[in-house]
């Protein structure tokens, strides 16, 4: 390639009667390639011009875009069913006519938009083939642009143009200034994304006027009223079966283990922090107690041990008492 500054472009303005075909032919005879020449006009010229471009290009693209559009329509109208399993009580959520309608619209959308974008790209690419714009064509003139001419050829081209009846010939340096019209499609795209950023910020109905659990009390319940779902009390007779059940172990683990330890020896993880040591449930002193007495201790508390009256229901305390009663006696020599 020859360096830019050695090459120029020429732009000639012609009256509309000028015979452009002849000039073009003469230019080509003078060694100018076809793609160096462009003809500018204020309206599309009906005459066939020799500038080569495939006539079929947009139809294929439009059809392809339409097919992609159908795919997009299918994806969206059947997407919920595919991406997110929804419970709809056995009702189908994809229906053929619906998919058809949506796909029709997305097909059209894609076809139109892609054709449009293709056209923009083509218009902008064609811009580079012309030396410069010639504003005066809009007053009913034609312009012939010959770009990328070597200095040696400039005089020849000028001569041909003058002979063809050029009103004005301009010479333009080949390194062209950047033209206006930066597409800002991605700005638009990003703005659309911003709209999505609003999603989920509204907090309708998140805080209800009705009294919710764990809310500070608003009114005290009337004196003498009973909670609707007070915990049930089971009779002593049924306890035997429950005695060693998993339930008792679970209750012991949650409520007693922290102080009394897993084996009941009073060596739970909390024990070292307490002023006194918790009782050893396997010690003879405890073993001597009846389940009723243990129940009373759980209910009322004893010494350091807090009362579990409000924390455990009567049957839970009963289960626990039976569980403690059934523990095996302490077998090691030291005693508390």
């Amino acid at each position: 390639m020859v360096e830019n500054h050695t090459r120029v472009g020429l732009l000639a303005l012609f009256p509309p009667e000028a015979d452009m075909d002849t000039s073009r032919r003469r230019l080509e005879e003078a060694g100018i390639r076809q793609e160096q020449i462009t003809l500018l006009s204020p309206i599309p010229l009906a005459a066939p011009n020799t500038e080569a471009h495939p006539p079929f290009w947009p139809y294929g693209i439009t059809i392809a875009a339409g097919l992609v559009g159908i795919g997009i329509g299918l994806f969206f109208s059947a997407g919920t069913a595919a991406l997110y399993p929804l419970v709809t009580g056995g009702k189908p959520i994809v229906a053929a006519p619906v998919v058809g309608i949506i796909s029709y619209e997305t097909m059209m959308l894609m076809a139109v938009v892609v054709t449009f974008v293709t056209m923009i790209l083509r218009i902008r690419r064609a811009r580079d083939l012309t030396v410069e714009r010639e504003a005066r064509i809009d007053d009913g003139r034609l312009a012939l642009s010959v770009r990328d001419i070597h200095h040696d050829q400039e005089a020849t081209v000028r001569k041909i143009m003058e002979q063809a009846g050029a009103l004005d010939i301009r010479s333009v340096s080949a390194d062209l200034p950047l033209l206006e019209g930066q597409p800002s499609a991605h700005v638009v795209g990003m703005l659309a994304l911003c709209c999505l950023a609003m999603a989920g910020c509204s907090q309708d109905m998140q805080e209800q006027q009705s009294y919710q659990s764990q809310e500070a009390p608003r009114l005290h319940s009337p004196s003498g009223s009973i909670p609707r779902d007070s915990r049930t009390v089971i009779s002593r007779e049924t306890l035997a079966a429950d005695r060693m059940s998993d339930r008792a172990k679970e209750l012991f683990r949650i409520n007693c283990l922290p102080c009394h330890g897993e084996s009941g020896e009073g060596t739970g993880p909390v024990a070292p922090y307490l002023k006194q040591l918790p009782a050893n449930l396997r010690a003879p002193r405890v073993r001597a107690l009846s389940s009723t007495e243990i129940y009373d201790i759980i209910t009322q508390g004893k010494d350091m041990m807090p009362s579990f009256l409000g924390e455990l229901s009567a049957d839970e305390r009963m289960v626990l008492a039976s569980f403690v009663e059934s523990m095996k006696p302490y077998s090691l020599p030291s005693q508390r």
Binding site: H186, L193, C194, A197, E207, S213, I254, P258, P269, E311
Partner: protein, 200 residues
């Protein structure tokens, strides 16, 4: 959910604590790309401002774990190995897990050497018979029906949703507590995905 989708999406957590999933796809940014990024930033801020106008801002959703008394789950649940249900006693029998009563705290704390400032405050509350106003950190919107009892009855562990609090000094939200998060678990475990299971 983050793990299952992580490869395909970027996760962006908005100001209101909501999570957005975006397709992950970075392109080379040119100069005008940065310009539009600037516009994006501006417009995004504007959009968020509008959004925030409508969000009345539930204090608990984005609140820091700044309790009136410096309570440590790490110590109580970790070192002392207290079961979650010892304090949050109603979790296995009611929709709400519950916050322990002052009386339950005192059950242990009145038998301890009250040296720390926090424990002093706690005792002061007890002496004045004034409840501690703990800051609520884990909360679902009121239009959601959620019950701890059913979830525990079906064998879920507290840590599944609340994280391993025995290793945390504070108790931040371990999960987003958002619909998609709930749904993904319901899907995995074959639980009901009917809207009315959770919406009331």
């Amino acid at each position: 959910m983050g793990a299952s989708l992580g490869s395909r999406y970027i996760r962006i957590t908005g100001l209101c604590g909501h999570t957005y999933l975006l397709f992950h796809g970075r392109r080379h940014m040119n100069r005008s790309g940065w310009k539009s990024f600037g516009i994006l930033l501006l417009a995004g801020t504007a959009a968020l401002a509008v959004g925030l106008l409508y969000s009345k801002g539930s204090a608990d959703s984005a609140a820091q774990d700044r309790q009136p008394i410096p309570f440590s789950h790490k110590f109580h649940a970790g070192q002392l190995k207290l079961d979650c249900l010892f304090c949050h006693r109603s979790a296995h029998q009611s929709p709400t897990a519950g916050v322990p009563s002052l009386k339950l705290c005192l059950g242990c704390h009145q038998n301890m050497d009250a040296e720390k400032a926090g424990i002093q405050t706690l005792l002061a509350h007890w002496n004045e018979q004034r409840p501690v106003s703990w800051v609520r950190l884990q909360r679902l919107p009121d239009f959601v029906y959620f019950t701890h009892e059913r979830h525990l009855a079906h064998g879920l562990q507290c840590a599944t949703c609340h994280g391993q609090v025995e290793h945390m000094s504070g108790t931040p939200r371990a999960a987003t507590l958002e619909m998609g998060w709930c749904l993904s678990c319901h899907q995995q475990r074959g639980a009901s995905q009917d809207c009315l299971t959770c919406h009331k």
